[in-house]
Amino acid sequence: MGPLLELKQITKQYPTSFPLRGKGKGVEALRDVSLSIKEGEIIGLVGQSGSGKSTLGEIILQLEKPTEGHVMFAGKNLSTVSKKARKQMRRDIQMVFQDPYETMHPSFTVFDTIAEPLRIHGWRQKEQIRKKVYETLAQVELSPVEDYINRFPHELSGGQLQRIAIARAIVLNPRFLVADEPVSMLDVSIRAGILHLLKQLNDTFKLTMLYISHDLSTVSYLCDRLAVLYKGEIVEIGPTKKVLESPQHPYTQALLTAIPMFPHNRSVIV
């Protein structure tokens, strides 16, 4: 069985729109990135800010078109699929974004937010929709469901919102999930919950995931494999443990030392 998702030599150039980036040549956000992800795997993508992590995620979701290269999903080239297949693709690949508040339409209730993908994909029966929404909310461990169903985003905490964002992403039973820094905006005290949840989804539904982060510590917690992106290129890739324990690329090494860590012996070395 081949990989579920395959990135083939993806290059992405943004036309320059920033004054200082020089004329003519665009910003090269990604250069020749290839990556394949097996079904059921969680792969982590780390890298410095601006290294192209989000861009990669957006290319997978067809929110951006790669300048070169293409994305293969379940054996199909996503940039050439038919309209119908594209709609199917929208069910199969989902995304969770960094800022949970910003990804919710401010005037949609929780129910609307989660029911929206169902409606888009042709669910008509009210009762069915309701059932599915409740079920999904339960899956993301928001209970009692009734408490949340009629709330607006600003009436919820960040952690709750992120759960709802995940609920929205999984309500269509996708096969692949891109999570772009889903916890970086959240307080430490509630981060773990979201990470647990993602892990759980992976376990129970074999949901394949691309987990994007700049924070090595959460990656190590969640991911099977780890890819390090540096200036638009994948400089290192391998099983998480291996990469963390013996980083090969200087950037990975620098990254590792830069992470603020509790002093190992738990006594201060100030």
Partner: protein, 292 residues
């Protein structure tokens, strides 16, 4: 960043109740609306009726009295009735023009901002062209061209005013379209139409509503100006026209009761809308909130 919240309805009500100016604005506006709707019942005379005293003499230039609260014109027309019917004209011109303008402006702004690219460029160049046209002269010429009628005044106002709305909505759409919840919608598989109608439109609506209020005012003002120049609809009484007739017949420095009421009516109506919009603005743009 402007955000729409369902709760803002309550917030708006609360704001208005708390802000004495907005409250005054609301009461005034409601008053004007009532006057406009029930003009037929409220006006004691027809706007153009020439009123004669019992001895058959025409009541020329009567100063205000109980019978004629705003006095009469030089040929015995009841100014109170004229001002009341003028209210109806002002309100209808204002609101009809504003609805038209807002509709067109929002459509253009939405399409331009959402699709971007060449569509945006073309639409925005058209907006530029319309921005280069001086407003009142255009209305004057167009109205003269199409015959002075109230509908043509509305049309002329609308033909130009949408430029502002389109521009503002477009920039609003641009910021909203960049917001992650639009991306989230795309990811969920929503099409262009759905995104525009269900996601972007509600978010720009408050701004559109705000702009609409300004258009109401500018339309009323423009109609008054055009009518004051004598280019308005001669068969529809309006505040501007009352002042025009006064000026034309040379009574502007003597018959104060003829000059003051329509002018004050314009001031009050526009002011009431301004006061309301200010409260509204504070709700949709919370930073403006007075911190007391």
């Amino acid at each position: 960043m402007i955000t729409v919240r369902k709760a803002s309805k309550n917030q708006l009500v609360r704001r208005i109740l708390k802000d004495p100016f907005a409250l005054i604005g609301l009461i005034l506006l409601l008053l004007f609306l009532i006057v406009a709707i029930f003009a037929n019942f409220l006006a004691p005379y027809d706007a153009y009726e020439i009123i004669r005293a019992e001895n058959g003499e025409i009541k020329k230039l009567y100063t205000p009295s109980i019978e004629h609260p705003f006095g009469t014109t030089n040929i015995g027309r009841d100014l109170f009735s004229q001002v009341i019917f003028g209210t109806r004209t002002a309100i209808s011109v204002g609101f009809i023009a504003a609805l038209l303008v807002t509709f067109v402006g929002v459509m253009v702004g939405l399409i331009s901002g959402y699709f971007g690219g060449i569509t945006d460029i073309i639409l925005m160049r058209i907006v530029d062209v319309f921005y280069a046209i001086p407003f009142i002269p255009f209305v004057i010429v167009l109205v003269a061209l199409l015959k002075p009628s109230i509908w043509n005044v509305i049309l002329a106002i609308s033909l130009l005013s949408w430029r502002t709305v389109a521009r503002i909505i477009r920039s609003q759409v641009l910021t909203i379209a960049k917001r992650p919840f639009i991306k989230a919608a795309i990811v969920s598989g929503a099409g262009h139409l759905r995104i525009m109608v269900r996601y972007i439109l509600p978010s720009v609506l408050p701004i559109a509503l705000l702009e609409m209020a300004f258009i109401v005012n500018s339309a009323i003002m423009t109609e008054a100006s055009v009518s004051f120049l004598g280019l308005g609809d001669p068969n529809v009484i309006s505040w501007g026209q009352i002042l025009h007739t006064n000026f034309l017949t040379g009574h502007s420095q003597t018959a104060w009761w003829w000059v003051a009421p329509p002018g004050i009516a314009i001031v009050l109506l526009l002011l009431s809308i301004f006061f309301l919009t200010r409260s509204f603005e504070e709700v949709i743009h919370p930073r403006l909130k007075r911190r007391s």
